[in-house]
Symmetry: C2
Subunit: 360 residues, 2 copies
Amino acid sequence: MGYERKNINSMQGYQYGEQAQGADILKLNTNENPYPPSPKVALALKSFDATTLRRYPNPNADEFCALVAKLHKIEPNKIIATNGGDELLRLAITTFVEPHAVVGRPDPDYSLHSTLAEIQNSRLYSIPLLQNWELPEDFSAKMNAAQASLTFVTNPQTPSGKLLSLSKIRKLVASLNGVLLLDQTYVDFADDKHKQSSIDLINEFENVLILRSLSKSYSLAGLRIGYALGAAQLIQPMRTKTKDSYNLNSITQNLACAALSSQEYMQEIWEKIKISREDLSQSLTAIGWKITPSQSNFLLAETTEKIPKSAENIYSELRQKNILVRYFDQPRTRNALRISVGTQQENQRLLVALKEICAG
Amino acid sequence: MGYERKNINSMQGYQYGEQAQGADILKLNTNENPYPPSPKVALALKSFDATTLRRYPNPNADEFCALVAKLHKIEPNKIIATNGGDELLRLAITTFVEPHAVVGRPDPDYSLHSTLAEIQNSRLYSIPLLQNWELPEDFSAKMNAAQASLTFVTNPQTPSGKLLSLSKIRKLVASLNGVLLLDQTYVDFADDKHKQSSIDLINEFENVLILRSLSKSYSLAGLRIGYALGAAQLIQPMRTKTKDSYNLNSITQNLACAALSSQEYMQEIWEKIKISREDLSQSLTAIGWKITPSQSNFLLAETTEKIPKSAENIYSELRQKNILVRYFDQPRTRNALRISVGTQQENQRLLVALKEICAG
């Protein structure tokens, strides 16, 4: 044992999805967008003046937040911009959860939650989702009984891709005593109606944070930028106290503005991905996989009696064919693969490989 | 009181140095480098392929760390790259300091320390520096008596610019029971001999972290990148457990590599700044200011009986002339201005203004 705190010593770090490189590798494991970012982003990059880098960046990404405010029609003091959505998840724990206090979440959900709880030395309280991936009726009652200071819910969910209805989310917020962090990382691939109207929650309730990320929606996982919306009393402590002073560099702020200003381009890409997703879903179903209806840019494909091998074996055989998908060795997902939706051509390569593996 | 933790509710956030914009503004308040970053950085920016941004970045900035390893002749597992030096300061507290435990530092030093200690709900223990800015003889004994888990020491110091000798730092590391975080943000403006040989400390001792930043030295405050060196047992818990999974974006990693590969260009700039610093120091002394010999890119200028106004008033009058310097309303610095070294031309403008203000 070294100098680190006991909870740090005993914890495992976060397990990344594999970031393999190589021309022949088909990467369908970390939900990256298969299309390039907006041409406006490339243009902003080329025209960025490197000499300005000698100056500190704007500490709160004011220009970017002004664009977010306009996009969602909310006040800028209800917005914080962060170094990817992951920074916001960390800040929410740092700001709202005492060490030894409880952080809640459904199980399964994003695996980073447990890492962040361990770092803060807080207790992660996981409540299993129902078989249909819905939250159990007593979810918030149990969270309140456990005195959860903060509850994470990703919607659309990971790894199922299912979208919980807005009315259920509203009931959840209204009944939770603590803060709900609604992680909408994947919402741009969901119904437009849900996407817009969920924003109203932050004006109705003082205990909900909505997290958005540009990583998947805007094809900018490599740029690290996300933002959260919420009542000013939730946002301000993170924005003025707990975040690193200059958390976003000047280039990121500049390119993120260009990305947000590309709604038309992005809308086309989101539509293309939705179409690919439905096609892939049908094709996988046709060869014997069970697919949960997804409103995200990935599918959870579960084995059935028509699939002659285990999900884990198929994962490994795909790996040998340079196709990466995600396998989580957890109770609810042991018989499943989480597959990011690629282009039609990429999805075709996956389908051919799956047929070969299951025929072989 | 809202949903935030009590310690967060009661704390103040970090107070930034003013980030004013405008063509006529002379910004000598936050120690930014007056020269542009290396032309290699501009070139790397122009040739960066924006389409690669759809992918996650390398989680540990491996290429950058390999260059750091080569530069300092140490193993890559003794290096962590961070989102500015500030991220490393936060990670050190998160990793090594329990809530309610003690973080030590000399007083004055970097004002962010107290903000970070408040966020972790740990106790900041400050020991006043001697009149000549040296650490008191019993500094480490007192830190040990207070059971400081972590002690911050910035060297060259801020705000004095003084460089503590390597032999004193070595004695300090050897006698501290906890971890020493030696913040060398400004060391590239110090004697080359000190700069090189201080690295040896991490091979000699298991309880010292050395922090370097590209913000000032490499004119990259806007890019947010720094790194720390230390024994693997200190570095690894931060690198694999407590840092955000993807803390540095792809562009930052790429441009930082270009910067580190520009040693010759940077060396010239460091020499220019050292010359400007000595010239400015002499000129300020000549008009009645007391200057602590600085090995940094700033000067602490204290008023004497020859200066007819208070430091605070002079700070305000400079502000009216669009010249920003830093004024800290603290016991040791109430009679002083911290002035970043600019180009010879910028320093000249400052001197003219100071003469006007003190004559008026």
